[in-house]
Symmetry: C4
Amino acid sequence: MLKRVDVRYLKEPEGVGLKDPVFIEGLPGIGHVGKLVADHLVKELDTVKVVEIYSHHFPPQVMVNEDGTIRLPKNEVYAYKSDGNSPDLLILVGDFQSMDGIGHYELVNAYIEIAKKFGAKRIFTLGGYGVGRMVEEPYVIGAANTPELVEELKKFGVKFEKGEPSGGIIGASGLLLGVSQLEGIEAACLMGVTSGYMVDPKSAKAVLDVLMKILNLKVSVEDLEERAKEMEKFIEQIREMQEQVVQQYRSDEDLRYFR
Amino acid sequence: MLKRVDVRYLKEPEGVGLKDPVFIEGLPGIGHVGKLVADHLVKELDTVKVVEIYSHHFPPQVMVNEDGTIRLPKNEVYAYKSDGNSPDLLILVGDFQSMDGIGHYELVNAYIEIAKKFGAKRIFTLGGYGVGRMVEEPYVIGAANTPELVEELKKFGVKFEKGEPSGGIIGASGLLLGVSQLEGIEAACLMGVTSGYMVDPKSAKAVLDVLMKILNLKVSVEDLEERAKEMEKFIEQIREMQEQVVQQYRSDEDLRYFR
Amino acid sequence: MLKRVDVRYLKEPEGVGLKDPVFIEGLPGIGHVGKLVADHLVKELDTVKVVEIYSHHFPPQVMVNEDGTIRLPKNEVYAYKSDGNSPDLLILVGDFQSMDGIGHYELVNAYIEIAKKFGAKRIFTLGGYGVGRMVEEPYVIGAANTPELVEELKKFGVKFEKGEPSGGIIGASGLLLGVSQLEGIEAACLMGVTSGYMVDPKSAKAVLDVLMKILNLKVSVEDLEERAKEMEKFIEQIREMQEQVVQQYRSDEDLRYFR
Amino acid sequence: MLKRVDVRYLKEPEGVGLKDPVFIEGLPGIGHVGKLVADHLVKELDTVKVVEIYSHHFPPQVMVNEDGTIRLPKNEVYAYKSDGNSPDLLILVGDFQSMDGIGHYELVNAYIEIAKKFGAKRIFTLGGYGVGRMVEEPYVIGAANTPELVEELKKFGVKFEKGEPSGGIIGASGLLLGVSQLEGIEAACLMGVTSGYMVDPKSAKAVLDVLMKILNLKVSVEDLEERAKEMEKFIEQIREMQEQVVQQYRSDEDLRYFR
């Protein structure tokens, strides 16, 4: 029995014992910049999975692993207990964002509830800012839910360009800032400028560099290129998904007709 | 935690102490005529914000302000305590209407509950009536939920053209009239004739003039042109939003595929 | 406050005192044949309105009457107390069917609950069967939820063509038969063959003739042509609605973008 | 009154007295391979219908039978009590999958609840794997929700190609594996390679052969070709449905406009 938004705690928040963790979100998005950085952190740091999130708002299917086993679309939260120089972290990563508008709100409600259960006092959402052209020297633009945080981030080289992105910030990276604003949780979005046409490890590196400065955290950036390649594979799968769906509709006409 | 339709009272209705206020709605719509007039009233009059409305039916994103801070899509209700010559006012303004059909009904239910909590006895919804061609001398056509109110409005120069708009009145401006009809609350819609192609301050002025006569209210109309220019900027942002969304889908294929 | 499916009884079923009434449905559909017949019956017979149905599944707007007043989209049930030669009748007429697939099921649940509250033992749904070409001599084809009723209807000249309509029966006219089948209520659909391109009074007359035979009922068919003309006007309004909506989207871009 | 997902037990699970039954799903899908095999099993084996499933997520209409009676879209579960050489079976067959993404999840929740009520310990979902070209010698590829089951199936000649289908498994056949994984129920999907362009009895035979080996079950495969022909008829009906719907929209403009 899978609930509409199904949050499963693998560990009791108290048991994990994080101290004022910083909540970091990196789900699929423009250039998969945020996902690339967050996946990288989960792998490079000594993290432990603490929450799994399933939802009716994810695509109604399973993915197939190399070994023939399957997995449900899900998002995950990993906990990182710091050595003391940097803050403890909660890192939200995963396969998908919501398929529909309402689902974005329902999922973000769940993410914030998780952040609060672990006592998170600050949220950073990671994404890409698509400019529609190749970018030689990617940099990071920001947006935050308090003026103080805007000022603080400027010190770390985050750019704030008058009202950019003028189109706003779409999906979890944006809504997390908005809803946490109402909850009195400080939150900012770090966006790596990117073409938006492909997985962009250079843009991800720019975001990671800034994030490490902000968190006073050190992780190797070497494997980013590597991960980007793997991710291209994943995205290729997504493309296949769509062909599959199209194909399914072709034979399964009924599925199409009330769309 | 944001509810599907999340009404937040910043002040207790009793505390505000409005006497039989008139509820005025001016949300985005054709020519943004209604929004232009309502925003203008909120700024010109000595108003205080009393309610904020958030909803899963608004776009799943945040907008970015000039200073780099963000804001969730929301609608707002402002209260105006009159000097006695005109009635007290409740003015509903905001960023969006519902993204989906069902949401229109759910939001209008909320708007009417707010109007009742403040003791509103009458509702005016403001909008544009798009005629698809430039209009030299804009005038105001009306529709009401009682024959008596139709007659009353005629006295103020509001035109009632046999069954116009023949396409009905779509969104909050229409549903507010319909649902309040069932609740026994008098309501009318004032529509400024406009091309429908652009933000139309001339049409807005026509609506504002009529509304001021009806309410025996005086506000300067000077800044309308100015506000129209600002609003064009906002609409430009909305256009960027869509490009953003399209772009996001390009890189975030998964988000597209079950549409 | 309007519920998702909002059924409002204007009279207590017991108070109306119908005896084993036959429930007749004639909502908009192919060639508006069913609506034409049902509206005609309501006007020709001495009927009284007993129920109004509003729903979030109807279009989010109001229609404007000739006199400048507005009305919410709604469906209605009228009661007819027979003189004894024919059965008592409950007639469901209205403006719209559901805008979405799920809404069709929710509304049909409501219709059947109403039928049961009034003690209806039998349901006839009326519609058109579009053949995509002009039809000189329209006739009536049927479908029923019991074999006995199929046989009975054949006696009245209703045609049953092997598995026709092969595309099934869509919307309320079909679902009413299906759901009532599970409730143990006899139900049949009478479909006038029609081109499907226009309001078809000739096809409606064919359906009405058969229905009158079945119910041993007599009503003048003279005004059918007249009503058809009026209905064309209504449909013209619907077309205007769509232009309105398109226009609204043009100026109200935001409304479009998450579709 | 039909619930959103309406599961109706025709027999009490205890009463049926199946022992650790294997649950088999064969709903419409690519090449209708799964449906073909499951329907075949229901007809060839001495089965009894134990559950009917109706849902608002199915198309809002009824189908018309040869004799003029109608039937609601529904899925069904049949029970097969084995002679002892093979396991007892529960076979899920039916008309449709969900029309919308969320419905897939809600229906799969219901299917798994049924499987558990009957004490099913293992699930096999059947489908087609569309390769977009004619296939001379169809074979069966698999996916499972445990590595052990992958290994077990290899012994029966089921192919596991590195991460195939790379597009994942869409709809009930996939979600059943994913959700049962969380419930600790072993489940695998058997996919017959097929063009995806037509009902494919040869692919179905390949799946049936493997399934019979796995279950140590014997059923004649003779009538498969025959059933495929019948199924083509059904699919033709589905096509007609769509034309009907299109036609309905043409005359019933209102139904179209908020899509």
